[in-house]
């Protein structure tokens, strides 16, 4: 077991982790942040996406012990059900959620994109989301949601 100090959603937490334990596992089981989902646990589906220092990362591929001193944002740090972020609000309005299992990862991928690119084109949005699988929606409304959020942020 290794003691590591993590900065998650702006709060510092010291947790003891196994050397091989993934960030995903630590977030879910040690910090109770179950908004980050386990889709494949092998780096393919994107449902475990979090932001590390503002960049999207697959938390199932990241070792928790290596996250010392990095700023981690999970879906719980983006907004809440009562006070959603503009991107989250756009997902609700565009009808971009079905089963919702891919949604936290999608929202974080979208947040990361919009921080980098203010007014992404539709192909850019698709490209940015292409590592996040959704089995329900056919993606149309998810792309619409990101577009809506970007238009509102940079009219």
């Amino acid at each position: 077991m290794i003691e590591v100090e993590l900065a998650v959603n702006g709060e510092r937490e010291t947790v003891s982790v196994d050397a091989t334990q993934t960030l995903l596992d630590v977030l879910r089981t040690k910090l109770g942040l179950t908004g980050t989902k386990i889709g494949c646990n092998q780096g393919v589906c994107g449902s475990c996406t979090v932001l590390i220092d503002g960049k999207p990362a697959r938390s199932c591929l990241v070792l928790a012990a290596g996250c010392r001193g990095r700023a981690i944002t999970t879906i719980e740090g983006v907004g809440t059900a009562d006070a959603p972020s503009p991107v989250q609000q756009a997902f609700i309005e565009a009808g971009a959620v079905q089963c919702g299992y891919c949604t936290p990862g999608m929202v974080l991928a979208a947040e990361a994109l919009l921080r980098k690119t203010k007014r992404p084109s539709v192909p850019e949005i698709r490209e940015a989301l292409s590592g996040n699988l959704c089995r329900c929606s056919g993606y149309t409304k998810i792309v619409d949601a990101v577009k809506l959020a970007s238009e509102r942020a940079a009219p």
Partner: protein
Amino acid sequence: MAKRRTGNGAAAGVVHRAIAHDSAEKHVSGAALYVDDVPEPPGTLFAAFGLSARPHARLTSVDLAPVRAAPGVVAVMAAADIPGKNDCAPVFADDPIFADGVVEHVGQCIFAVAAATVEQARRAARLARIEYEDLPALLTVEDALAANSLLEPPQVMKRGDAARAIARAKHRRAGRFGIGGQEHFYLEGQAAFAIPGEGRDMLVLSSTQNPTEIQHVCAAALGIPDAAVTAECRRMGGAFGGKETQGAFFAAVAALLAWKTGRPVKVRADRDDDMEMTGKRHDFVVGYEAGFDDAGRIQGVEFMLASRCGRSADLSLAINDRAMMHCDNAYYLPNVSVASYRCKTHTVSNTAFRGFGGPQGMMAIEYVLDEIARALGKDPLDVRRANLYGGRGRDVTPYHMRVDDNAAPALMAELATSADYRRRRAEIADFNAKSPILKRGLALTPVKFGISFTTTHLNQAGALVHLYTDGSVHLNHGGTEMGQGLFTKVAQVVADEFGASLDRVQITATNTGKVPNTTPTAASAGSDMNGMAARNAARTIKARLLPVAAAELGCAPGAVVFAGNRVRGGRRSMTLAALAKKAFLARVSLSAAGYYRTPKIHFDRARWRGRPFYYFAYGAAASEIVLDTLTGEHRLLRVDILHDVGQSLNPAIDLGQIEGGFVQGAGWLTSEELVWDAKGRLATHAPSTYKIPAASDCPADFRVSIWRKGRNREAAIHRSKAVGEPPLMLAISVFHAIKDAAASAAGRAVRLDAPATPERVLLALEDAAAAADAPKREAAE
């Protein structure tokens, strides 16, 4: 670019409105709880499985001592340790929870282990020493047909004399092709959480479309009454049929280990295990012979449908029945014979998947019509339209049901116009004439899908509604939420009955203790049936409230109206809360169970006659692709969809179902390929090797509309139509657009199996080229 029209559904009120999914706020913020997110009480254990490495073998030795001795292990269970029945099958008692003496597919479970952590359980499971004596294994449909290994005798459905009509027809065409299976790839894997209570009580949280079956299977495995087990499901992270029966095994393992240890046990399959252990869409081999006239009208057609069912029956009989009942799709087949072979193989037992055999049946007839068009040099759309139901005497299905709501001709005509089919057809011909390597293809195909379970007794539903004295409403029903928006739709129906705003209706988890003896949420019938059951419950309460309201408001009971969270009568009104309180004081019950059974349906399977469906749902899609004939890869350029949902209960949710269903269908027919090796092992057991559509694969130009003229002739809930499954089959247009482009490249019809992967397309082009060369070579010799 995505354009959508929501069509009808502009009516005021809470039904027929585009309302967001009830959990949308929770989903976007990560606050929605799935089974694996439920906090674990102290002492919770985690399970892992020991799986068969062989497709068919006797277990000569199973040594679990090293598993028991591994760190963190609390319990290990195999077949002999089950106190009750070793079975988790839905119908035929042929799915042992743990293999007993014999294994019949790679990935079949032999034992399970509970340990303090997931990691410890998984490490321990790998320590078992298992010895096998191999037995002959039948892996494919062809293997099984050759060995006559069938789950039941072949089923035959006939009307007229197909053989004679084919023999007499001016033209004939015969062939054979394959249709691949499909992995569900629900993003949330199979999961269950069993929590022992007092005495023998057991609570099982399960990611399931069928809580009642979870309850029954767990009770039987534990040897306790059904009443001692409560199964609950708040939501699933996708299901698509993959959690209609497949959740039962995982729930049973959780319940057994919880019983054995007296501690809560959580089971979550990791992705590779999930893909190996659970059933998939059936792959089919289709043989056909058709006789037709100069216009391409079918005079007679014979189909042979053979599917890989896997090691047990599961739902395979009903799935293959539905395949038979959909190989007419939207077309009148004057003389038809369908023979269906349900092959028992030593592979995982295949199961329900959105469409439930219907998609494979529809592929059969669409393939034949495409072949007919190519044989006659006609546009496939013309041949399709010439064969549609409609006109004198052309309205009876092969199972003798009258098609009296035939929407396909009007829908297809409207779509051909709005999608600009003719102009684009000409444009594509021009383009292809000038483009040697890139070829474009276009296809417009209809969908007619029968709504109701073909197993008649499953068409029933229950609901439980309470009105509280503050005017809020508790809603429960037997349907489960898998992302399709069922809970939202049923809440809309109940809010509408009480004239309440949607936020007054509390949606609650499906629970066998609240609504018992339910059937699975499947067959697209979830909102039809549960909406009706919930409405009946609400109406029962309203009927009891009427005299109270009439007395309070000083009007006739018939004049009482529920609207705007108020109850009005004459010129007076009161809040729903005030009325509820008055009713309570007057000792009137404010709780009711509702029940519904679908009317009009019946089916005689021995004679293949009846009215198995309450009504049909329709749709049509036009897909255009561009094919690179050097690589075999294609891109979706434009898709136009017109889909009939009757009068939509919720157009936003319905559009999501249409778009998502189409894309899932396109994945099935293009990129999603399941490969088993010669040892019966699934080679594509990881998401890295099994490719479902990503955002970048979707059509560049996607135009989806709900059909404005859509009506349900039957009195389904608010005259809506079911929408869960039918849109998947719109993607049959994608497959035929690829076939169209390949034919254009080859200069003749190509034989193409599904999925149309790049390899398959290249193979089809090579075969066509070789066939074109053959006569030349003969002439030269």
